[in-house]
Subunit: 318 residues, 2 copies
């Protein structure tokens, strides 16, 4: 049983970037995550949509094998987000957030949801994230995400989530805002001092870093040719990360390292199109090639530096 539960938003996004725009496209943290993770392992979504949610989006998720038994339809309108990205892509400028049906949502988990060994608490109200944790039955791995929207409104609850999960995912801006530290390695250390067991800081074009009490690991970003829309990069990263761990059925340090590269590969696909379109069309060979490329980009064979057999005067040893 290697199922992944994701609780997060399913949304209609309107996004403008220097390369085009999308109106009311399928979006939301749980959607991006599910399309990404479904390449690796079975995914179950718990979320809510309004009565206006287009059936074709539901069908597209189902076609990827995503379990939608936990996707409620509530009276009202679907969650909507409107944002734009300026020349310095990577930082979204939120123009409007309409919680709509999420304003009164409380996640209700069925038996199959509660028993999922891998859990991703995508970006939603931290109070809802805590409700999910309370309902889980001995999960193997819990990972959280958040957004500056919640860091600004409920910092204590965001910190409580971060203390209760095994790994907290944040982007640069969020890590700085929550920790009060500018330098990201220090920000990660500070978040661990605040009670996080492990953090992943997503750094956009600079990749991502994993920090726990005794480990530091970094993955580069896969360089995309046609950056189109950075929306969902973080959730797609999380999908690749948890997806690989779930596929392997373990989360030891070695597996986690390749999982970071799987995350980076999925994020690079997500940003090549508006909405999760590229995550849907990505072929396994294409994903595998990006993970291999990330491995090549970062690997070197370590030779001893100052040992005598290497030749040279070892000036430094004088």
């Amino acid at each position: 049983m290697r199922d992944i539960l994701v609780v997060g938003s399913v949304a209609l996004d309107s996004v403008r970037t220097p390369f085009g725009e999308a109106e009311e496209a399928l979006g939301g943290s749980a959607s991006y995550f599910a399309f990404s993770a479904a390449h690796y392992a079975p995914v179950r979504i718990v979320a809510v949509v309004g009565e206006d949610f287009p059936p074709r989006h539901r069908e597209q998720l189902a076609a990827r094998g995503v379990d939608l038994s936990g996707l409620e339809t509530a009276a009202g309108r679907t969650f909507r987000w409107r944002g734009e990205y300026r020349i310095e892509l990577g930082h979204a400028h939120t123009l409007e957030t309409q919680l709509n049906v999420f304003a009164t949502f409380h996640p209700r988990l069925g038996t199959d949801h509660r028993r999922c060994p891998f859990v991703f608490l995508a970006n939603i109200d931290p109070d809802l994230q805590l409700e999910v944790l309370d309902q889980m039955q001995g999960p193997h791995l819990t990972v959280s995400d958040t957004m500056n929207y919640w860091i600004a409104r409920k910092p204590e609850r965001v910190i409580e989530v971060l203390r209760r999960v095994q790994i907290a995912l944040l982007n640069e801006e969020e890590a700085r805002a929550l920790s009060g530290e500018t330098q990201l390695a220090r920000a990660a250390d500070r978040l661990i001092a605040m009670g996080a067991r492990a953090v992943i800081v997503k750094k956009g074009e600079h990749g991502a870093l994993f920090r726990s009490g005794d480990e530091l690991f970094v993955t580069p970003a896969f360089p995309v040719e046609g950056l189109t829309d950075p929306t969902g990069a973080g959730d797609s990263f999380a999908g690749g990360f948890l997806g690989w761990l779930a596929r392997c059925g373990r989360s030891d340090p070695g597996t986690r390292r390749q999982a970071m590269a799987c995350g980076a590969a999925m994020a690079s696909l997500a940003i090549e199109a508006f909405s999760p379109a590229r995550l849907v069309t990505a072929r396994p060979a294409e994903i595998e090639e990006r993970v291999r490329a990330l491995h090549r980009m970062a690997h070197f064979d370590l030779e001893p530096l100052f040992d005598r057999s290497h030749g040279g005067e070892a000036r430094s040893a004088e």
Copy 2:
């Protein structure tokens, strides 16, 4: 013969950071480079100082085995730079640049200088960098650096240098300014399209990337505990990079990769103190441990993703 020639500035720096300040401390691109590279291989400096240059600085360089036969003393004052770093460390704010004796300097290379197989054209007037290239006798490897000061004043000459060397080093800001591209992977591609054979983009706390026509390699930054003064980080990186290549006597892709980690290790030492003080006191074991840590930070064992033996439905293959 694995000697390294560096032509660049030897200066008196006055720097203020959030952690303290230094007045007229030993600085300059050639100084940082020399203290860094001297850990790995013999270094020869070609530069100029004024009559006011303190003898103790000259002695400190000589004590590290640096050949100073090409360090001229000219009538006038030593080159001076005054800068400060704000909270967002990494970007220097130049308050004052006094070229002084560098205003009329022309590098005069002796026979030993001309025959050096490894050449670093540190940040000086690109016209002087070209004069040095014209005097070299079949060097094995030429690497250049620059600064936005010259990109703003002599962009065509900076580009000419970049076309004539094997590897051009730039920091983030310089890569963006010279290429007109915001995203760094694209900026590197653009610089190659402009005629560079290979570029290294130094990204501060995000490490550095190497890009040539057929290769992309990244090294993370070594996370320092006590960041004090980022001045000289780039030149110290260059010192570790060329130092390791010179020590090995080759510059093939595999050796270059470890050279990037040696560069990152030296940069991390440089920024722990004002002036090149930490580069002087660094022990070989300490340098080696940082290179090993950088290797650990980036390495993972690649497992096939979607092959059947791994278990799982290979959903993605459907």
